[in-house]
Symmetry: C2
Subunit: 215 residues, 2 copies
DNA sequence: CGTCATCTTGATTACGCTCAAGCTCCGTGG
DNA sequence: CCACGGAGCTTGAGCGTAATCAAGATGACG
């Protein structure tokens, strides 16, 4: 997953430049607040300015699956159909930029904007496929290790902070909170990671972690 | 997933019209033959003319995950990064149309073509998210039922034919062949489906199947 | 008709879930 | 400042679902 993130970082700047000129209101959300709902219309496109956002799907039995987590600079809410299949909620205090899709179509640089949206969509697809691979074929231990690895990879630096609680991790990984918790304890016991409180950690043994994550 | 397929059927015609005029060679592949490999460059876009195609990801331990199955009219090989994350193989005898992405950029109706590619990408994303939900939160029984339901939904008609073997089903659903086989036997015993040979079946109790599949 | 791949079935194991307590960390109020 | 309360996290015991290992059955094809 490293390459993917690096690619993102490289491509991010031209996109940001283009978006700066777009007409879009910026809205603030509190922790857990809903940005859009399942089955709502998809005429808007969103972008995280600050904070973090999750997309969630709830089925009729109350089983929950998190689609993805989004951070500053990420687009979300891109969908082909007329209705959202997932809902979106703020993970913490978050500032979100909103664009009317229709208003983008009449902007000056139509082709550039369309390409930007395609790139964001294709990148999203790539992440989703990676996620798919993980859900289908990894063990609980590998899932949790991958998750921590990804967080560290995105954030960089020494001390890593989890923006989400255990339940959100579990629903992203297709596990229960108990299993997530046990795996975290296990990885820590083996020295792969070290937690300081339940939201902060450092990587203890990067090569062992990488080996565990290797697709 | 019904709505999604319906949407596809509605949108398919304009896309097909546009593609008809594109410069693209048509290539024939035999069962199991590789169309492109993991880590190969992504400068080409593909479209199934006849037959069926699967995309596969193999990890270092030999664990396999199938990304999706593609049938006549479907685009595949759309990726944001410079390298394919999955490989593509023909499931059976298949005719595949190939386009150079670069050559599309210089075609007459650039905007129309870009939009077509975006739509295909977004639809793909939607399918992948649906797949994600299934892998993360469904039981073996529900996965197999969903699979059969989807096949029937795509094909229509009374008698359904599976283009793929049990191993491919298992690798798509994140299960083993044994489990797939057992669930098929179980669903059949309950009268939800009826198999004539291991590749053909009919739906026996549509409402019960739908109830089982309901997200 | 025989051979080989594919599929099914059976017995056993194990990984992750469920149910049930504890524990930790915070915010709140006495 | 400390006690209380509650949410979120961790740990434990037991269970169930799907994986694994191992035969058989079926079916496709030469």
């Amino acid at each position: 997953m490293t390459a993917q993130i690096v690619t993102f970082a490289r491509a991010a700047h031209p996109i940001q430049d283009e978006v700066r000129s777009l007409p879009g209101a910026s809205i603030a959300y509190g922790p857990g607040e809903e940005i859009y709902a399942q089955a709502e219309e998809t005429d808007l496109i969103y972008r995280v300015v600050s904070g973090a956002v999750r997309t969630t799907r709830l089925d009729s039995d109350g089983r929950r699956q998190i689609g993805d987590f989004y951070y500053a600079g990420d687009f979300f809410g891109l969908e082909a159909g007329p209705e959202h299949r997932f809902s979106a909620e703020a993970l913490c205090d978050a500032q979100v930029q909103v664009f009317k899709r229709a208003s983008l179509a009449v902007a000056d640089d139509t082709v550039g904007i369309e390409r930007m949206i395609w790139t964001a969509t294709a990148r999203e697809l790539e992440r989703t496929r990676e996620h798919l691979m993980m859900l289908g074929r990894k063990t609980a231990r590998e899932k949790v290790a991958s998750f921590l690895y990804d967080v560290a990879d995105r954030q960089g630096g020494e001390i890593q902070t989890l923006t989400m609680g255990r339940q959100d991790m579990a629903d992203y990984l297709g596990l229960t909170i108990e299993t997530v918790s046990r795996m975290l304890t296990q990885l820590q016991a083996e020295g792969l990671v070290a937690f300081m409180g339940c939201r902060q950690f450092r990587i203890g043994n990067r090569s062992a972690l990488t080996r565990l994550v290797a697709a």
